[in-house]
Symmetry: C3
Subunit: 356 residues, 3 copies
């Protein structure tokens, strides 16, 4: 009964917290025809600060972690992120009517991690006296970046291929930097394409802000500026991001009318499937390195959760064509509540398989 | 003597505080031909944050108030705001040489509320041990929004009418969405006009930011982001606003040379007349619901005060043609000091009529 | 040995601190071809806030100082700043291949003051129990502004003269507001030129933001907004400035290939020469007013240090043609570490000449 009360409280506070309130507020403004706008240069800067903050925080966590014991769980986390995206590319993104761009952006967010859901799970483990490794906070950037980069890469490849296929002549392949004829669609050209898109993705403002933050967090000593600037401004800047996302989501909501059921189905079921993947890979890390049962629970929660912070600005920067109604709606509206509600399931499974 | 010392201290600190210092600094820069500028997109964002903050604070106060006992005083506050604007539209805005746009913007600011003057009055009542209702802080948005929206509405109607009158042919009425001929200037067309302008006003960036903040404050739980972001940034963003207002005010000061006496007369006398209106409506609320004598004093102070925070950015957003030298000069330069000096008058009147 | 350990710690923390980390991060991003960008309107606002903050802090220090005892040391500080710039204009800026614009911007930064180096010196004196005047913090704006304004003035004069010289006909002098013929290159025309450029410099956004901050700091009471807004945001905004400076520095690094040795030579030797100038003028102030030995050390450290905060944004605003690779590289990369390492030298000299 205590767990049920915990869940109810967590869900309620999730629904009342500013993130969702500003998202709904933005949608309401757009619905009422408000002329309020956040100027584009300022919005770009808000996104830059948010991503730098996420990167700096992750980098500081990695620097403070014990790198040797981090290695195997970090690999498991990155693999989980990639596996979720690959799975989504063969399920949601293939459903009829779902645009590959919207589908992959959504899948990328479900592969990325919600720091607040992770914190809720840690609080529940702490309350139950279940131990876990201190470096868990340093795992999430590995899953986060792996999932986001894989999803962006696959979305851009799908876009490039569809552009390539439609005209079906040499002129189109030239635009992709191909040197051979249109018939020569072999593996070498494909590799050039992947390399070009990967470079593009890593050089994009969003991903390079994340990576820059991580690099400075790991190699520098940005704790003072992190604590005095990036951390205190974070919630407020996030409220602005959510306001803009809400306004844009409303204006593009109608595009989804015919495929809403696909996103609802995915949003409700994916967290459970993803959590199981994370749980399974955590079990393997347990066998290999003695990764704790609490750690397995938290890895499952990371996999089950979908990104509410790093994901939306990254997707908006890297895949501007993708519809935020799809990816923000599915992740913040459905994925996050389901992920929070699933926490007790992973605790129960860990108790069943290993004992807590 | 203590009261005199209190007044002197209050006025002095008013003159030394950053709001006025940055306003004068901006005027000085403009006078000296400085090329310093706050880029427009950033300035728009500063205004947006200020208005969201004012709205959130008001919304949180309303949520925390007892809605039943709030109802009658809130209606009195809204009525006071509207009454002040109607009065001003028949006095200041009709004076020869005063542009209706500048006049209504000024009148709107005098109808709106200065939170810092209200705080000074509360401090004086606290020092004298005079009790007042805890929900007083939740009253000011009612007076504020009522006055600002009424003033903007009337300014835009005057503008629309003058545009309509000058050409006096069918083409002009078409621009206002009229379907009849130019002669058909009946009440139905007028109602369409009012509805159009009211919609425009509520959808304007400034008013919708205020209303969004109130909605999130009442329905959400934005306390954390309010305390970590909007509240700490407020004074600083206000200093930037005042800097820009000062520069603009200087550049448009010469426009007022011929009508300065009208604004001076209004700035010095209006706070006393408005305070009397607030006092009277507070007396009625006292008869109806037992509204306290301290509450009446604070309602009079709210009515006497003119907006130094929510008003200027709202007017600049909603009525960009209005001259800030007129409305900021009259309110911050004259109205606010007079309102602060009048506080002991309302305390003395409350003691006379009800007893403290 | 303790002093050596102190030095090592200071240098190490200097290299790890966010200022340099973000500068290097920006260079790395540019080198890797990242598309990350800080939008120009936001960047201009960041610079404005930084300069307002520096000015406000300086103004508050001056207001809190005893103006009578401040007068002679303040004159000594301003003279030191001007002397350093004049010296640099005859050394670095005359070296073959060094553009006068880049050279004067660099010299201006070496004349200006690093607040963090000054703070490090104060900490070392405190640790050794050496006394110094309380108003020292109020001296640095005098040296800072004197050096920056002199350097900008000389850079613009050099630019105007070179433009004037090349065409050598009446049309060119007309562009400078000259009324006489091209031959009349006498002192009166020169005076007009100086006056025009000085007005331009003082009216430039960067210098007027600095002066506005000082004026409000001296005449107003901006402590509350300074403590709640400008001070807490400072480090973070500086990290953004350094990021932009780093990206720009990388893109213009190749311009310096042929003159790098000149900047290295100047960056390594100038702090020692400048420190000696400051030390000498401090000795004169000691003879005239009994300026303390600790004060002389701090004046020498101010002279030896080069600006890492007020300087780069000022130069970028006032001399946009100057190459930040030159001035930021020479000052932050070489001048600051040498200045920090030279602190014990000035302590030793003060002990030798006056006794501590």
């Amino acid at each position: 009964m205590d767990i049920l009360a915990d869940i109810a409280t967590t869900v309620l506070s999730q629904l009342q917290k500013p993130t969702l309130a500003f998202l709904l507020g933005g949608m309401m403004l757009a619905a009422l025809g408000s002329k309020l706008e956040v100027p584009t240069p300022v919005y770009k800067f808000v996104v830059l600060l948010l991503l730098l903050k996420v990167g700096l925080g992750a980098g500081i966590s990695i620097r403070e972690a014990d790198l040797v014991s981090l290695a195997v769980p970090a690999a498991a986390a990155a693999l989980t992120g990639i596996a979720i995206v690959l799975l989504g590319s063969r399920s949601l993104a293939r459903l009829r009517g779902v645009s590959p761009m919207d589908g992959m952006a959504t899948v990328g967010l479900f592969g990325a991690v919600s720091a607040s859901t992770l914190a809720a799970a840690m609080a529940m483990l702490d309350a139950d006296g279940i131990a876990y490794e201190g470096f868990i906070g340093a795992l999430y950037p590995f899953m986060d970046i792996a999932a986001l980069v894989t999803a962006i890469l696959m979305a851009k490849m799908a876009q490039a291929r569809s552009r390539n296929v439609i005209p079906q002549n040499g002129a189109a392949t030239m635009a992709l930097g191909g040197t051979g004829s249109a018939d020569n669609d072999g593996p070498s050209e494909n590799r050039t394409l992947v390399r070009g898109i990967l470079t593009d993705t890593l050089q994009s403002g969003a991903i390079s802000a994340l990576l820059l933050g991580i690099a400075i967090g790991v190699l520098g000593r940005p704790e003072a500026v992190y604590a005095s600037f990036y951390e205190p401004l974070f919630r407020g800047l996030l409220s602005i991001l959510m306001l803009v996302m809400g306004m844009e989501a409303w204006s593009r909501l109608s595009e989804l009318r015919k495929v809403a059921h696909a996103y609802v189905l995915y949003g409700l079921s994916a967290p459970l499937v993803h959590g199981a993947i994370g749980f399974g890979l955590g079990m393997i890390a347990h066998q290999l390195t003695g990764f704790s049962a609490g750690g397995i629970v938290l890895l499952a929660v990371m996999a089950a959760s979908s990104s509410d912070i790093s994901g939306p600005p990254t997707m908006r920067g890297a895949l501007p064509e993708a519809n935020p109604s799809a990816y923000v709606g599915a992740s913040t509206g459905l994925g996050t509540p389901v992920a929070i509600l699933s926490i007790p399931l992973w605790i129960w499974l860990a108790d069943l398989f290993i004992g807590l």
